[in-house]
């Protein structure tokens, strides 16, 4: 066995040992709880979770439904629609905030005395997950989707701002230097050189962020910030796990569908022209297998 392999082996062993030690520390005295675990799981699934209570897809009793289909008055539809609306507005507002802050944070676009504070601000907004922002905003503006939108917008500024300034910093220096030497000011350079050069990445990040906000928006309702999470917490409160299960399945289907669309759209923004476009089925697979499946399907077409 050569030295390199030995080192990797030792490192892996050490890491696993550390994991076991830390886990044991966390779960001290609780190992016995696994006894009967299988039984608990079986009972949770057969007695509580399954079958899902699909009444969440039917019209609510109150207020009286005036829509053409009862489904459009259902808790699942209304909740999911509200989550989607919140994610849409939160993402757009967050994007606008990020696109203003990101150039100030990029080391190749702004002087360091501006960049430092801007990066700190972005890091601050990103360090709290949106659900914590939601708790704060529920306290400030009260229960409901407005708090959720503000929470998502804040987190989006921090997260998207980081993605954006990193992609600005990753740009080739040449165009920016040529513009600067030609006498264009920072704003002109940003608008006419940096934005067009990174446009594909910016749109791709925007789609990703929307997808992300839909996923995370589903839980904001747990703290009273609107969306489908409100109904989740409502049913959880009454221990109605079958209805919770139905809502979880709805969230799963919608999130997967949005990821599929977003992935498809983003594949059109790929940097090089010869990268094969993603296929719909690949959304359901792990990235590696999806890449392999894409490769075979492209081969088949050829």
């Amino acid at each position: 066995m050569n030295r390199g392999t030995l080192n990797i082996g030792l490192l892996t062993f050490g890491l696993l040992l550390l994991t076991v030690v830390v886990l044991n520390d966390l779960a001290v005295g609780q190992w016995s709880r696994f006894e009967g675990g299988w039984d608990n799981l079986r009972r949770l699934v057969t007695e509580s979770l399954w079958p899902p209570d699909w009444t969440v897809l039917k019209a609510r009793n109150y207020p009286v439904c005036e829509a053409a289909f009862g489904f459009m008055c259902s808790k699942a539809y209304l909740g999911m629609l509200e989550t989607l609306k919140m994610a849409f507005v939160g993402t757009v507002i967050g994007f606008l905030g990020a696109i203003v802050l990101a150039p100030l944070a990029a080391s190749n676009l702004a002087p360091s005395w501006v960049g430092g504070p801007a990066r700190l601000l972005l890091a601050g907004m990103r360090s709290l997950p949106s659900i914590i922002w939601a708790i704060l905003f529920v306290a400030i503006v009260g229960l409901g989707p407005l708090a959720g939108v503000l929470a998502m917008a804040f987190y989006t500024v921090g997260y998207l701002g980081k993605l954006q300034f990193e992609s600005f910093e990753g740009l080739a220096n040449g165009p920016i230097e040529a513009a600067r030497a030609m006498g264009m000011n920072r704003t002109e350079t940003f608008l006419f050189v940096v934005i067009p050069e990174s446009a594909n990445g910016l749109i791709s990040q925007l789609l990703f962020m929307f997808e992300y906000n839909v996923r995370h928006g589903s839980v904001l309702g747990l703290v009273g910030a609107g969306g489908i999470g409100y109904y989740l917490s409502y049913y959880l409160g009454f221990l109605l796990y079958d209805a919770v299960m139905a809502l979880i399945l709805v969230i799963f289907v919608v999130v997967v569908a949005i990821e599929a669309v977003s992935r498809r759209l983003r594949s059109f923004l790929s940097e090089s022209d010869d990268v094969p476009k993603a296929s719909w089925i690949s959304v359901l697979m792990s990235p590696d297998r999806a890449a392999a499946a894409d490769a075979t399907s492209t081969d088949a077409e050829v």
């Binding site: 080739a172 040449g174 165009p175 920016i176 230097e177 040529a178 513009a179 600067r180 030497a181 030609m182 006498g183 264009m184 002109e188 006419f192 050189v193 067009p196 050069e197 446009a199 594909n200 022209d273």
Partner: protein, 219 residues
């Protein structure tokens, strides 16, 4: 229009020192020398992209927008069209539209399209630069400079990757610009023979100094 006294260039240490250079209208100055010796650093310092390591650099007559710069890798916005890139030159220019021009915007568009035409790229106007060949990209960068009509042009190996016909087109256009406007060109050139053919003055970087070279002197 541009002069240096005792100028040293470099990042953490001086690469080339004691540069006394005067650039006059109509000058075409070639800078030659082995690679990695600091030619590009000189150009970047003259362009104002890095501060002088030591000494003085004066752009006496060069106002904002009167300096054009073509970096070695051209500095084009690769995802934008030829038109967008050339329009950057028209946007940056310090020139004023001729008397009686009603719309500055219209004038800048005209300047842009004339420059594209001069470089034979009319059919590629809306094409993203990244889809163009190396030679076409070089012509786009040249068109950007033509649209800007700067008083001093700093170019880094701007004739490489071009076939003979394109060299004539690109150099011819810049040469006309220099003659008509009384502007100046400072070009870093790795091809010594070409430097002597096109330039009015040739300078060689050697041993950390910039030496004047007489025409015809061999390597």
């Amino acid at each position: 229009m541009l002069s240096t006294r005792g100028l040293s260039v470099g990042y953490d240490h001086a690469l080339v020192s004691d540069i006394d250079l005067d650039v006059f209208p109509g000058d075409i100055i070639g800078i030659i020398g082995a690679s990695g010796i600091g030619k590009t650093t000189i150009l970047r310092t003259l362009a104002g992209l890095i501060p002088p390591f030591q000494g003085n650099l004066e752009h006496s007559l060069v106002k904002n927008g009167e300096l054009g710069y073509i970096p070695q890798r051209l500095g084009l916005v690769r995802h934008a069209s030829v038109e967008h890139n050339v329009a950057l030159g028209a946007r940056a220019t310090a020139r004023k539209p001729p008397e009686g021009t009603s719309s500055v915007r219209q004038w800048k568009a005209t300047v842009t399209h004339e420059a594209i035409k001069a470089m034979g790229l009319t059919e590629k106007t809306r094409e993203p630069v990244r889809r163009l060949s190396g030679g076409q990209q070089r012509r786009t960068a040249t068109a950007r400079t033509l649209a800007q009509r700067p008083r001093i042009i700093l170019a880094d190996e701007f004739l490489s990757e071009l076939d003979a016909e394109n060299v004539e087109m690109v150099f011819g256009a810049i040469h006309r610009l220099v003659k008509e406007d009384g502007s100046a060109l400072v070009v870093v050139e790795h091809n010594v023979e070409r430097a002597f053919r096109y330039c009015t003055r040739v300078l060689r970087v050697r041993d950390g100094r910039l030496h004047p070279v007489q025409g015809g002197e061999s390597e």
